[in-house]
Symmetry: C2
Subunit: 386 residues, 2 copies
């Protein structure tokens, strides 16, 4: 899943004006009543929901309505396996696991090794393919249930997608594709074709279950352009429109921008040795003042602080404690050094625990592969020729 959007500052900026984005993309901000509906169906709450880490959606209400009616529903998300995963990548997967557990949903997950190969001049397909398998360890460490998690690796499992892709590709013109993704004359044909596969994936559950299946996609809003096309063409192909719920991106540990593999020193990888992860936190850029004295006097700015965002989006479950931390930062009672030291210790523990689970999953990777669970339809040639 490549991050593409026609809006400019999007790629670089993590402290984004999300209201503006919602307006540009035409998605709907998640209202209090919609959050309540989801919490009711889920029988509980999730920090990413009540803190609006997931903050906008398309047709979540329709999806929940279908779910409550007993119509078949599933989840779909994915990953572009161009390297090791960092916390920014796995953030939405925690919420996806929560949805899987609470709503009892099967998750279809796409590893786009083909797209990453097409996108990166220096990457070989054998590398992105290997990362696809490597990244499954992270999904397993998150705790996603292999009995309900079905992973497709594009370059190998294309036979599942292609019968859908053939029909999707006929519905999309080059001009639509270019307007949506900003392709140029020098774009390679792989990248031009790729959106067809990401769109097709949202229709795969209906094909595999041989019944109308509603799909909810938890993913960053940067992926929205794909689903806009998917939603446009779904009715003419006889599929329900996929619903989405969009998350904000985890900021990197530098002064600006989302957590990104292009700046590895500002990203915490799931494979970073715990002490390395902790050190990255200690060196993180904060919303604090230049000196302890000024901090005591003026207070910090948690709204522009990558360390505070880590607590808010991932590492502080307790709302009261989070609020206290916010206020203590604002008033200058809490100094960046102490705030970082505590986060560093949480990150250290998190990485050690995550890596134990990750290693334990090495012999379970195949259990997650869709191909080991779903058969391809077989043709009855004789009947066809009658």
């Amino acid at each position: 899943m490549e991050e593409t959007a026609p809006v400019g500052p999007w790629e670089a900026e993590a402290f984004v004006d999300y209201d503006r984005l919602v307006k540009i993309f035409g998605a709907r901000p998640l209202t209090e009543s919609e959050v309540k509906s989801l919490e009711k169906v889920a029988g509980g709450s999730h920090i990413m929901l009540r803190r609006r880490v997931f903050y906008s959606h398309r047709d979540l209400d329709v999806y929940l309505n279908m779910y409550e009616k007993g119509v078949r529903c599933s989840l779909y998300t994915g990953r572009g396996p161009s390297g090791s995963t960092h916390l920014g990548h796995i953030l939405p997967w925690f919420f996806t696991k929560w949805l899987q557990d609470r709503l009892g949903l099967e998750l279809f997950f796409q590893m786009t090794d083909d797209e990453k190969f097409w996108h990166d001049e220096r990457l070989d397909i054998s590398e992105s393919n290997r990362y696809a398998y490597e990244n499954i360890l992270d999904l397993a460490a998150i705790g996603l249930d292999y009995r309900k998690t079905h992973i497709i690796i594009d370059s190998e499992d294309i036979a599942y997608l292609y019968p859908i892709a053939v029909r999707v590709a006929k519905k999309i013109t080059f001009s639509t594709q270019r307007a949506t993704f900003g392709f140029t004359d020098s774009t390679n044909i792989g990248l031009i074709f790729y959106p067809v596969l990401q769109i097709s994936m949202s229709f795969l559950p209906s094909e595999l279950y041989k019944e109308e299946t509603y799909v909810l996609i938890p993913a960053g809003i940067d992926q929205d352009p794909y689903w806009r096309i998917a939603r446009d063409i779904a009715p003419s192909l006889g599929y329900p429109k996929p619903s989405q719920i969009h998350n904000k991106l985890l900021p990197g540990l530098g002064p600006e921008g989302k957590m990104s593999s292009s700046k590895p020193e500002t990203a915490i990888y799931t494979t970073d040795p715990p002490e390395v992860g902790a050190q990255k936190i200690i060196r993180a850029y904060t919303g604090g003042q230049p000196t302890v004295e000024l901090q005591r006097k003026l207070g910090g700015n948690p709204d522009r602080c990558s360390v505070y965002k880590m607590y808010e989006m991932l590492f502080e479950e307790d709302d009261a404690k989070l609020l206290e931390r916010y206020q203590n930062c604002r008033t200058g009672a809490l100094l960046c050094g102490d705030c970082k030291a505590e986060l560093a210790s949480r990150v250290r523990r998190f990485l050690a625990d995550f890596q134990r689970k990750r290693e334990a999953a090495r012999d379970k990777v195949e259990l997650y592969l869709l191909r080991t669970k779903f058969e391809l339809p077989k043709r009855n040639v004789r009947k066809l020729l009658q």
Copy 2:
């Protein structure tokens, strides 16, 4: 295989200036010495070769050289299964069978049901897919050996092609694709992607045999644009450049144009009842004079006659008899009615015989499918993750 070429009159005209085409496309006309080389290797001659129905090539000499050296060689051609096949479609397959038999070559054959679906607004993929199987009966009736003929049906067998296609797609930009095939903004993404698959097919034998395999493609020169790109990118992907040998197109039975499904009354289908085929010949447009008297006086023009071309390209094996027919037409000794009556009777016999063989092949179709003979490579996931 869609017929595409940037030259204008090409599609409509069958009595084409082939010398000009060779010049435009940059292929090489087949010389007497090259024909002799092929005949020597084949241990015999074929009417389509000595009459230059196959008339130009790229690197046929390189291919024969490799063949004689004992390097692995194979054949590749294909068909866009948008309907029943007519004599124009099967013409190159007779020559392909001759090559298969004489040189002991395996043939890889691509049924492009996806492309035909993308190309024709009214065609459903289920129809082009069904025609793919239906058309295999024609390949069987031609006499192609199923032990040495391996057919891919794009929409179902994509898993064999996609690992190659992924690498091919990265090598081709949209501007190359547009310049070669004349795509516009309203072209659907399927058609833009499709050339990647036809190109990839020429590298498949090397992958399946796991060794460098030289490929010779017998096909109409209208397919040449695909192979030009294939030849351009082959070295960078580590494959030999595919060689080609181009055939002229069989004229339709009307006053102009190649035999085409768009004018069914001027095309003889392999499924036409023998009497219907014979009647189409009787009604054919010829190079004769408006009246018997003028024909006797001025003679006919076999060079612009669809009936004569049928004899020349398919229905008269004997060179001496063909020459006699040509001269008797020129002098006015042979009247169109008699010439047609004899061809009609040959066509009637041909169709009856062909249809017997076609019916007998119904339970052998699966034997031709590549998927029933070649296994997809399997990943050793555990080894990959070490």
